[in-house]
Structures are given as C-alpha cells and as structure tokens.
Symmetry: C2
Subunit: 743 residues, 2 copies
Amino acid sequence: MPAVVLGLEHHLFEEALEIVKEDSGYRNDVEMTEADWRGIVTQYKGIVEVELGRAFPQDVSEQLWDAIRAVFDSWDSDRAKVYRRLNDIPGDWGTAVNVQAMVFGNMGVTSATGVAFTRDPATGEKAYYGEWLVNAQGEDVVAGIRTPQYLTLAARKRAGAKPLSMEEAMPASYGELAAVFELLEKHYSDMQDIEFTVERGKLWMLQTRSGKRTAKAALKMAVDMVEEGLIDETTAIRRVDPMALDQLLHPTLDPKAPRDFLGRGLPASPGAASGTIVLDADTAEKRAELGEAVILVRVETSPEDIHGMHAAKGILTARGGMTSHAAVVARGMGRPCVSGASGLSIDMKTRTLRMGTRELKEGDLITLDGATGEIMAGMVSTVQPELAGDFATLMEWADRYRCMKVRANAETPADCRMAREFGAEGIGLCRTEHMFFEAGRISSVRQMILAQDEAGRRATLEKLLPEQRADFAAIFTVMAGLPVTIRLLDPPLHEFLPNRDAEFAALSDTIGIGVDTLKRRADELHEMNPMLGHRGCRLGITYPEIYEMQARAIFEAACDVAEESGDAPVPEVMIPLVATKKELAILKKLVDETAAKVFAEKCRTLDYLVGTMIELPRAALMAGEIAEEAKFFSFGTNDLTQTTLGVSRDDAARFLNPYVEKGIFLRDPFVSLDIEGVGQLVELAVQRGRATRADIKLGICGEHGGDPASITFCEKIGLDYVSPSPFRVPIARLAAAQAALEK
Amino acid sequence: MPAVVLGLEHHLFEEALEIVKEDSGYRNDVEMTEADWRGIVTQYKGIVEVELGRAFPQDVSEQLWDAIRAVFDSWDSDRAKVYRRLNDIPGDWGTAVNVQAMVFGNMGVTSATGVAFTRDPATGEKAYYGEWLVNAQGEDVVAGIRTPQYLTLAARKRAGAKPLSMEEAMPASYGELAAVFELLEKHYSDMQDIEFTVERGKLWMLQTRSGKRTAKAALKMAVDMVEEGLIDETTAIRRVDPMALDQLLHPTLDPKAPRDFLGRGLPASPGAASGTIVLDADTAEKRAELGEAVILVRVETSPEDIHGMHAAKGILTARGGMTSHAAVVARGMGRPCVSGASGLSIDMKTRTLRMGTRELKEGDLITLDGATGEIMAGMVSTVQPELAGDFATLMEWADRYRCMKVRANAETPADCRMAREFGAEGIGLCRTEHMFFEAGRISSVRQMILAQDEAGRRATLEKLLPEQRADFAAIFTVMAGLPVTIRLLDPPLHEFLPNRDAEFAALSDTIGIGVDTLKRRADELHEMNPMLGHRGCRLGITYPEIYEMQARAIFEAACDVAEESGDAPVPEVMIPLVATKKELAILKKLVDETAAKVFAEKCRTLDYLVGTMIELPRAALMAGEIAEEAKFFSFGTNDLTQTTLGVSRDDAARFLNPYVEKGIFLRDPFVSLDIEGVGQLVELAVQRGRATRADIKLGICGEHGGDPASITFCEKIGLDYVSPSPFRVPIARLAAAQAALEK
C-alpha cells in the first residue's frame, strides 16, 4: 500500500524489515514475533511521516478511499499506457475497483496461497499448472521475493525440485482445488487463470479468469477442447486470436539457444533469421546467389533495394517505423525485419556497423528476431513452424464458416506459390512496378522514362514486353484456376530513376545519354508531393503506350498459358488512382482494344475483367458513376487512409506516436483501418457501387486486408474478398471466419 | 465551303481568283463578268479534283450533308477547343446546325451586308456601332479581305473616313435597320449583336444575339439600362460577368502607348506594371525601400520570396502555371504577374536575363501585362482603374441582394485596408506563417525550429511574441468592428529553413550553431510529402508552445486594441488541418487556457471564437463530432481539393492540362471547385456541422471563394460567408448577389 497508494519506494520498507530480520538472525518472515512486527509497524509509520511530511492516515475510510483512488490512478501510469499500446487496449475503457473482505494465506503453516492455470498456458498441454507458497499472501507469489513451489507432484518431479508440491503438502485442499478447476473450466468452457488462498485449512477462490496463453497453446487448447466436447468448432474459431497465428507461421529462435544480445529495434516483421551482414542490395543478391544466407542491413530501404530484400533472409534498418518501406515490404515477403534500430550506425566507407560499443563488419554473422525486435551477434538456432496438425485443423474449420474469400498480394511466382500454400484463393493485387525494378530490366525502364517522345518510349517498351509477358505467364501458371488481379503501373516515374552519382554514371554508359542530361531530366521529374503527383492512371492517360504494353503482356501471357495448359486464367486488369469515371473509361477502352488485338492475333478469346482501385476520397464519393465502367472495385486502403486523413505514411513517424499516446488515434490507422473516418468512404463506395452494378466484385487489397479488426469491418459491409500479404493469409482466413460468426 | 467542308487551303482558290483579276486588270470582285466566274468555277473544280483526288460533289443533298457534317466536326477543331478552354465552355455541350434558304448581299449595288451592335461593345456608349459592305456577303465583312465601311455618319466622321456610311448610302434600309435595332434591344432588354443583308433593296435580318462586350461596356450598359428603365437592378446584377470585374480593378496598359514586345507567358494575375528588373527578393525589397518601382523576375518563387513579391510592382517567372506559388500569391496581393514565360532564362552569375534573342540586365526597365501575359521592354504608360461611378453603383445594388457575407484573406495591415476599401466585411483567413517569413524575424523562427528542446523553443518564442502581438494589433486596428479569423501556424517547419549554402552560413553566424548541425537538422525535418506531413494542428499537438505563443499574441493584442480604441475586436482563432475531434479539443483547451491567463493579467475579458478549417476529407466526414468543439468551420477548399482528388497543386502541371483537354476535368479544380466530388464533402460537413450546432458559422477561405461558380455553390448549400483575396472581393460581392438571385 505505501508503494502503490502513497507513491513511496518499496525498498524503504524492505530495508527496515531486512535489518530487523538480520539483527534477530531470522531467515524467513514467519520467524518474526508479534513484538518484531509491532516494532516494524512503528518504523514504517516513521518512514511514511519522514517521506511524506504527514502521518500515515489512521481513519479506515480515508485509507480505503486512498486505495480506491490509487487503483483508478494506476490506469494512467506509464506502465499501464505501454501495456495498453502493446495490447491494443483503448485508453478510454477505464478500470474498475472491487471492495471486499480479505482472506489471509499468511496465518501460519495451515495457510497458503497460489496461482494456477487449468492447462499449461505455454504449450496448451492438458495438465494443471501453477505455483504456491505456504504462509504467504498472493503478492509474495507474484513479486518474486520468495521462490514459489510447484503445484503438482508431476511438475515438481519433472523439474527435479525439492520443496513439496501442494498436491503432497496439502492433499485435502489440493483435491478440493482440483475439483474447482474442473468445475470452472467446464463452466467457462475455457482454460482458467486462478488465484486461491487457504486460510487455516479452508480453501478460498480469489479470482478466476480466462487465462492468457501463447499462440501455440491457444491453438492446441482450441482443437483439444473441441475433441473433448467442451466447446464446438465455432467457439474454437473464436477462441484463437488471428494475430497470434503470425508467430506460428515463421521460424522462431530456439528458446534454449544462447544469445549474444547486441541491441533492439522495432519488431517490424515476424520470424527469426541468421546470416552474414551485407550492406547493400546488390551484394545481398550476389552472395545469396552463391548460396549464402545474408541479412541486409541498411539505414533505410527504398524500392531499389527490393531485389536485395528478396535475396536476404532478414532485414535490419536503422531508421523507419512499423509501417516504413522496409517493414511493409518485409511483411509482404514474409522476411523477418527489425526496423528503426536507433542504436545502429553504418559506415559505408569501411563497410562496418556499430551498435552501442560493439563493431561488426560486412560478412560477420548476425541474428534477428522480428517478433521481438532483438538483434544478436552470431548465429542462434531456430525452430521451424508446424503448419500441419492443429493449425491445419483450425484452418479447415475456419474455411467452413467464413463468407469472404481470401486472396493474397504477390507478384513473383515464388510468393504466389507460398500464397497458395497458405490457402489464398487468388491474387488480389499484383503490383507490376515491382517487376520493373529487377536488375535485368531497370535500365530499359529508365531509358523509357528518359525518352524524349512517344516513339522513344515505344521502342524501349518493345524490349520490356517479352519480359512482362513472361512475368505474367509464370504467375498465371502458378495460380491456375484462380483469379489474378493485376494493377497497371502505379508509382511516379521518378521512383525508378537513379539517385546516386554512380548509378547515373552506369546508366549513362548503358544507354549512351550524358550524365548531365540524365540528371536534368530526373530533376524535371522531381515532385514536391509524389504521393499526390503524376502517378497511377495519370501515367496511363499521359503515356498510354505504357499501359498498352502492360495490357498486351497480360493478354498474350493469358492466351499462351491457356494454349499450353488448357486452363484459361481470368485476368482482372486493375486501373489505379482513378478519381473520375472518365479516366477509367479512357483506359478501359485502351485495355479492351488491346485485348481485342491480341485475341485476333492469337485467334482466341478469354474472359477478363477491367476494374479499378478505390483509393482516393473522390473515387469513393463517385463510386456510383465509376461503377458504370468498373467490373470490380478493390479498396486501396493504404492510399485512401493517406488522402482521407491527409497523412503521408512516409512522414507520419514524427507525430503518429504522440498521436497514439494522446489518444487522438486509438491505433495506427495504417495498421488498423480508421473505421469511423475512412470506413465511411469505403461503406459509401460499396453502397453506391452496388446500386449501379449489383454484381460488382468488391475487395480490399491494402495492408488492412490482414488486420482482424479491419476484416471484421469488411465482412460487415459485405465485401467479397480480402487480400493481404501471403503470410497474413491464414490470419485473414481465421479473422474472416470470426467476422462471419460475429455477424 | 472548300476550306471548311473539304479541308482544302483557302489560298489555293484565292490565288486562282487573283490571277484572273490581275489578268483582266480588275480591282474588285464586282468587276468580274459572268464568263470570268464560269471560268473560275471550272478552275475551282479542277483544284478540288487535284487536291482531293475526287470530283467536287454535284449532288445537292451530298453537298448539304457534307456542310452539315463540317459544322458538327468544327466543334472538335483545335481552334474550337482552345476557344472553349479560354471561355470555360464545357466540351460536352455540342453544337447545332440550322438549314435554311439564303439571301444574297452580293446581287449588285442595291445589295449589301453588315454586322452591327446596338451599343458600342467596347465602351458601352449608347450609339449604333457596326460595319457594312456594298455588294458583299457576310464572309467578306468578317474575313478582312475588303475593308468594311462605317455604319453611321457619326462614326464615319469621327474616324475621318471617306467611303459613305450606310446611313448616307442606303438611308431607307438604314432607317428600317435602326427601327429593328430598337425593337430587338427592347425585346431582349439587352445590347444586340446583329447580322443583316440587303438583297436588292430589301432588308433581311440574318441573326441577332446578345453581344459580347468588354467589362467596362458591360458595367456601363447595365447601369445605363437600369436608368433607361429597360431592365431592373436584379437584371443589371445578373448581366455583368463577375470575373470580368477583375480587369476593372487593376491598372491597365494605355492602349495608345507604343510597346516593345519581348515575349509572352501565362496571364497569372491581372493588372499592368512597369519597373526595373530585380532578380532576387532581397534586392527587390532594398530597391523598393529607396522608392524604386521594381519587377521581381525569378525562375519560380517560394515562400521565402514573399517580402520581395510584396515590395515589387509586378512578378515575372520562367516556370509555373496559373496556380503556381507566384500566381496564387500575386493574385492574393493584387500584384500583376506573368508566370511560366518559357522563353525566359535567367543567369544569376551575370545578373542578366534573356528572352528569345534579347538580353536585359538587372536594373533595366520592363513592363508586364498580367491580363494578357505580355512582356515588354521599357516603360509603357498605364491607366488607373475607376472604382467610383458605375462600378460603385453596381456594387451597391449587389450588396442589396446578396445573402452571404464577403470577407477577405489578408495578413498585413495594408492588405486589410485594401480589403476594406473593396468592401470586405471581415478577414476570413489571416495566415500567420506569412508573418514568420519577414526578414527581421526569420532568424528567430529558424532558431526556434532548430532548438533541441521545448525550453530552447520557448526562449525563441519569447522573442517572437511581441512581434506577433504587434502584427495582430495592427490588423485589429484596421479591421475595427469586423471579425478577424486568425489561423495558427500551418506549414511544415522545414518550409522556414534555409535551402542555399549562403543562407545556412548566414544563419550559422546569427545563431551560433555550426552549418553541419543546421544542415543535419534540416535533413531530419525533410519530408517526402510535406503536404501530408508534420504541419497544421499536428505542430500544435507536438509543439504546443508555438500555438500557445500565437494565442497569447492574439489575446494580448485584442486586449490592447480594446483598451486603446474602446472598440473590442472579436478574434476567431482557427486551428488548421484537423482530422479528429480530439485534436481540436486538445488545442481549443490550450487556446481557452491561454485566453483565461491573458484576461486575468489584463483584468478584462473579450468575446472570441475557436473553430477549425475543414480541409481534410476525414474532417468533413466527422464534421458532426468536430462541431461539438468548433464554433465555426472554414472550408479550406485548396487542401480539401488536393486530398480528395489526390492531386498536389505543386505537381499537377504535368497532367492537369491533358486532363482538361481530354475532358476529364471540365475546369481546373483548383480554380473552380469540383462540385460533384469535393462539393459532396463540403455539403456533408455543412449538414453534419449544423445538425450538431445549429448556429455554427460557416465560410470558405480557399481560392474558390473568389470564383463565381464556386460562390453559387456556397450560396446553394447555405454558407454564411466567402473569403477570397482582397482584389477578388468585388467579384465575390457580385457573384454572391447573382447566386442569391438565382436561388
């Protein structure tokens, strides 16, 4: 009470007690006499008076009210705030206080106290699990001052511990307790986290609640309990937190392996990986090709690093938050990533990096834990995930109950394959620009951008056509029988241009245009606000030849795959960043005309859809009109969040944390959809789009497509599918099932 | 017909005719004999066959249909497109074709043709005005091949011309014509633009329509016609195009003065000005302080040039469109501006500029015409605008009928004074950041931004406080009795930082921090998308001390002015870029607490309002909730357009023109509000805001507040006021009256 209620430091009182015990030669509190305690109480009162400048309150009501107030105040403690942020608990929920009579576990050797779980919260095993202490209060068990004893004989034996278990020391109370465990678990149909006290041989239950558990335990218990007949499948589905699955889908560090801790960053993408340090994307790719496991370490990543990120086993950056480029791309690829490791500095000249007092060089071994943000020197062994068994069972149940389809965002055959393995029912977003960054073709892309006129652009696009066609053919082959939504080129062209002198020089050599001219052209393409600039369908309107080439590559690839496999894919061509019906009408015409030409050349026709992303507020508002031209809408909620809130994801780090801390945003709106704001626009667009075209296909392809709260919203407003990154597909399958059950 | 219908060049036929006339020694077409004409017809047929590869169609129906088709096709000619763009005529209106029998004005000397206006379309004078030709067709009059003659005796005499006027040559027909003029003007209650033909002495009217007129003429006619009893005041108000007033409010070039034409740019801000060329803002300010009239010439302008733009009589830029920084700021200040003069290059080393083959140096005289975009060497005399007389009369009538108030956007006492002179009923937007750029204080601002912590920022803010207080006191004094809306700091802080080496060095000297440190800090503040970055109320949330200083300056100034003048101003404190109710709640509390402190110190209280800009889609969507904290909403439609459409005004030039040309945008959405898209959000916010707080004050302070079409929309949805730049106040007064009458 002095610590919590009066705000005095715990050690002040502990010291006084220790001195008395030492002077008297006691080892345990139980050896203290009444006189000793009376002395201690007097001392404690003195300490309070000295520290606080006023006497310890003697009025019982005053004490009670102080205690009540302290509980309420604890809601706003720093520790509570951090806890809430980590666990997504909104700050405006508040807390409550129960006032009731107390029982005492410290009334001698026939008294005891303990905490217990009805099953093992770490593994899910069906066995009582807990700790207890003779002659103690609950605080003694959890505070770690005395070492608690095992609850069951089995656990004590397994650990090889000496102090008696409760099962042995107090068999009667233990038997009674076990009966209560069974009763409570059956009553709540869930594993219980229980606090109990034995006061002079009589068992009292202090508290029971559904217990926290690891992802692994949650999964096992849910499946076990269905088999035991304790719960049904729908309860099992509801019982597992979809986000917790993320831990199960990636390799994790072997908990028994020794670790050489270097520092910490943000847990940006789950999973663990070890490898040699490489400091740039090209080196990453080269060394990975030789079979080496590499970890890409950068100050921050940009689209030009994609090939290196793909080649690496893990990514570590010094800057950037949970939604930085590195974090988003790594999650999409399923690579572990630790971002924003502020203690990390990189010296590119000496090719070394420093973390605190430690210096490492390129080629040294390093290990990342993307689930915790920990960085370790050397190799730490990892444990591979188990995707069969309980996991597969739960997924099967989930698929039985969900209404929405789950697709995935992917653009390489490898990612598409992984998406299928995780249960994706199609590709919801294939970002064609990622293909443009590939080492072999970035020069052609740059040459196209820097061309003086349409003829020049067309000449280089001719070179890119067979490569894009091959990209799409590979994807169609992997995704046979499933829909694939391909988004035409989206980012502003200057994203593809070099930004380092060496790259300009290399490009100049390759394409034979002077460095000065290249730099001038790059300057001309520079934009103040690229997010709101010359990108998306605006590129298609001003340079129709680019979209024409992409459409041709899609239809030629689709025809070829249909020819070879006999299984015709159904491409869904998606026009990005549409704000008006007319933009879509112009570009749909271009796509349709290109399709007609290809079909005539190939002497066959194929089904395909043309649709658009809804990622601008205006597009959502005008969805009724736009649906006249669109066979499908895919909600690009990343950009829709940026424009609706007026927040650039790249720049938000400076104020997003204070915003979450001050409760302005309950959660990062790029992680979980801002339902009350952005959600209004999505819902409006759904209503207006369906009013125009009843069978319009509706999906979401923003990062939110893998966030359970956002998925619940998507189900509520009636979307047809969600499309997250491949590693989030199982999460989405479970969350979609939960949302359907909730509805 | 061959030119229009068959697309053959006119000169082919003219040459053949000229040869026949020359060979025969004729000077006029009328001297041609029937045989000559038959020969010409044969020749013409030959030309058509050679040029077209097929004979001239002899079937009358075919000729007619070709002609009809040609008229419809003309709608899509380049010339028509340019015309429509310049005159804001939507491309989807289409055109019509009338087919009717013809009369001939070229049947000898008793035949004639002419065009006439019932009043002088240039000056508005009540006198017939027109041209005619004996023995000619309408095309001859307008094509400029023969020189037409004056219609009236008075006009011929005034011009000292010899060929007889129609009044003299055909008195009977002229008398009949004059009677028709009177009849038509009375019938249409407007000045008519008439085409007529006399066929063998009989007068035929070909066409009549309300005539185009200059702004000056429109004004004079509207006022005259009310005095004549021809129209009433409301018709007079409707009759004048508000945009045309813009021409009347600025000095114009004396039409008689000789001009040395250098080149042309975009007519970015109306008015004409002469002065000496200066190439940077500091020089502009220095030379202007010595009483010199200067023209600021820059590649493009940035917020750092504001003081130079203010000091200059006119602004010329090589880059940037009609909505570039230079254009927007110049219009706001009422300075003539020619932007995007692509032929202009500036050499800062030699301090010279080049336009085409001409080279000028700093200090040379130059003249700009912001209404046409023309640039001239040397001085061209100007004519001052006449704001009394007809102008004042029309404004008085407009004020009688309009419902919305008209405020102005201004932040200097001079601009506020001008706004009052133009009839502004308050300040709708005082952008406090403009005050931060002033030469005397930018160092303090920079020091504040670069401070390591809150204490450092507070120390520099202390220095800025008295200056801001003086700013506000001056404005409150000028605007005595009228409301003043002050927006707290809005732009991202890095906009205030130096970006040239010399500036960094100077700043380093002033504040004693190394250049490297300054540059590093500036780098840290750099943003990918500053428009969506750390700005607006996000600054107030993260650095509350800045808004606190500004609020203190406002309330101290208001108290001081109230004390001195006895006339207490009512400050309206406006929080920018709000997306959530909570942001506004936090900052409103800060403002209220600061007000309470100042009132306690000054021993007096004042009325004031706290409100917000609605400039993000989310703010519009959440207006119902936000109105719980806001006493007023001011629609910042510039930013609302940028976010709703996902278009950065700074970067839009690359695609906005093609977008307008292809009909994707009917008009530049930054010039005229996108009513169907952005308008939905504005309307929604009005409804939701009023539902929460019935008496919420609603206004618009974007550039659109000076655009008649947008003003009509504001009236329709029931805003309380519009607030354009001072020079647009008369336009807004007239447009608001027209909108009220329309309603």
